[in-house]
């Protein structure tokens, strides 16, 4: 099955991707599905897919990025086409900012503060609708986190604060989510319950989306600030995607769970202890994630309508602007819509 949302093609069934004349064709036992190359930016493979170099060569000419996920919904890698936007100047500045402690700390503090703001905005909805239990965490996020970050602290301390922000966020899930999605603690590889499965899968999707968005800028994917630039990973994508997790992933999860769009007994694989979304569950979740990514808002800085997906690329631009022009880096804020 191939389904098409915006400029992303998700391939959820087994088959083969090929170049056919000047188009892409997905072939399986059910037949051929043609995917015109012009309309797409990325292809997400969520099942076993056969490809050949002729196909890879073709999509790289059009700058199409190919992401692979394994059977368990875990991200396994990206085919990253030949870079078309290369700027030596920006690469040098990116490295300089990493080595310049002050600059690096500024970027990291902005990101962590951005996470706190966006979590606050996400949770405030529940407070507004009568959930007074979460007032403490709201106050902490709004008042204390910025103070903690204002201090003269090192990168380790910033990472500790970041950990704390997520931890406190997870700790109130039981207060805002339907009972069947009881959540003890965040477990990653592999997720141990339905909610962890949703979080892991959602985070991986936003991570791959961010890779594609950064591909549209001059930034080098491997040079990051909050996360250590470790070899073989697109760690800048981890940095940039961080503030979008509450906005895209968690808002979608809360919506799917509380509005019963996704249910434990219907949309998870029983054999695997409900720790894995089944095909139907995965399709629902992707559709909802995509809807949110492609929803439109008026961007305060641009004074123009744009999508959350584009806002990820704009955060890349903001980083470039900090590197090249020293303009303070303020990641996307759900409060300011900037």
């Amino acid at each position: 099955m191939v389904f098409v949302i915006s400029k992303t093609k998700y391939i959820t069934s087994m088959g083969e991707l090929k170049r056919k004349d000047n188009s892409i064709v997905f072939r399986n036992e059910k037949g051929n599905t043609y995917i015109p190359i012009e309309g797409i930016r990325e292809i997400v493979c969520l099942n076993e897919i056969k490809i050949n170099t002729k196909f890879l060569d073709y999509i790289s000419r059009f700058g199409v990025v190919l992401h692979f996920f394994n059977y368990y919904g875990q991200y396994s890698g990206t085919f990253y086409p030949k870079e078309n936007l290369i700027s030596g100047k920006i690469k040098v500045k990116q490295v300089q900012a990493y080595l310049d402690e002050n600059k690096r700390l500024n970027i990291c503090k902005s990101i962590v503060n951005g996470i706190a703001i966006n979590i606050h905005e996400t949770l405030y909805h529940y407070y507004k609708h009568g959930n007074k239990d979460i007032k403490d965490i709201l106050d902490w996020l709004r008042k204390e986190v910025p103070i903690l970050l204002e201090k003269e602290i090192n990168i380790k301390r910033i990472l500790f604060i970041e950990g704390l922000v997520w931890q406190r966020f997870y700790s109130i899930f039981n207060k805002i989510l339907k009972e069947e999605f009881v959540f003890n603690k965040r477990v990653k590889r592999p997720p141990d319950n339905p909610l962890n499965a949703l979080i892991s899968f959602g985070n991986s999707v936003i991570y791959s989306k961010t890779i594609t968005q950064i591909y549209g800028t001059h930034l080098d994917q491997s040079i990051s600030y909050l996360h250590e630039p470790s070899e073989g990973r697109f760690s800048l994508s981890l940095d940039i995607s961080e503030v979008f997790k509450p906005v895209i992933v968690f808002k979608t999860i809360f919506d799917c769970v509380n509005n019963r769009k996704i249910q434990v007994d219907k949309h998870f694989n029983k054999k695997l202890n409900y720790c894995l979304l089944n095909d139907e569950g995965r399709n629902i979740f992707i559709t909802e994630l995509e809807k949110r990514l492609n929803s439109v808002f008026v961007h305060k800085g641009l004074n123009r309508k744009t999508t959350y997906l584009n806002a990820i690329k704009l955060d890349g631009y903001k980083l470039i602007k900090y590197l090249v022009e020293d303009k303070k880096f303020v990641p996307f804020s759900l409060k300011e819509m900037y």
């Binding site: 700027s87 100047k89 549209g216 641009l302 470039i320």
Partner: protein, 167 residues
């Protein structure tokens, strides 16, 4: 001798918008998703197929079309003819250095501000001197550490750098 670095696009941008020129000249050439640019490119292709002599590259400049008398530059619209004029003057000068003397002709596909589709420009002594000065200015300008601050105006609306400048 003109520096090898400065292209027709760079001189065009320098007249049109200094910030755009700095960013482009420093290889910060953002992906352009705008429909206008796409139309411009396609018009270019169609026109160069019509005329048998296709695009010619000399050093680092690309010339749309050259005839016995004219060097021809094709533009989608006449929104900023002054920038195009300097672009053409640069080409004329480059050609002259190679011993090829031509006059400049700008062909506009959609006229908006002017009532004619063809505009002529000649490389006079005065222009040549002005151009030399301009090229020196541009070189100095491009090597400055930062681009000039963005000033929003109506011409920004369709620019590929709009998002970058206003973010």
């Amino acid at each position: 001798m003109i520096s090898i670095k400065i292209t027709g696009t760079i001189i065009n941008y320098y007249i049109h918008c200094k910030r755009q020129c700095w960013l482009f000249g420093n290889r910060i050439n953002l992906e352009d998703n705008s429909e206008d640019v796409r139309i411009g490119k396609i018009l270019h292709e169609i026109k160069s197929q019509e005329s048998k002599s296709s695009e010619i590259s000399i050093d680092n400049i690309k010339i749309d079309k050259i005839t016995g008398e004219y060097l021809v530059e094709l533009k989608k619209s006449d929104a900023d003819l002054n920038s195009t004029k300097w672009q053409v003057l640069l080409y004329l000068k480059k050609l002259k250095e190679k011993g090829i003397i031509r006059k400049g002709k700008i062909e506009v596909i959609e006229k908006k501000k002017q009532d004619k589709k063809i505009h002529y420009v000649e490389l006079t002594q005065e222009y040549e001197e002005e151009l030399d000065k301009l090229l020196l200015d541009i070189e100095k300008f491009l090597s400055s550490e930062k681009p000039p601050i963005a000033e929003r105006s109506s011409k920004c609306k369709k620019c590929a750098y709009y998002e970058y400048c206003n973010i």
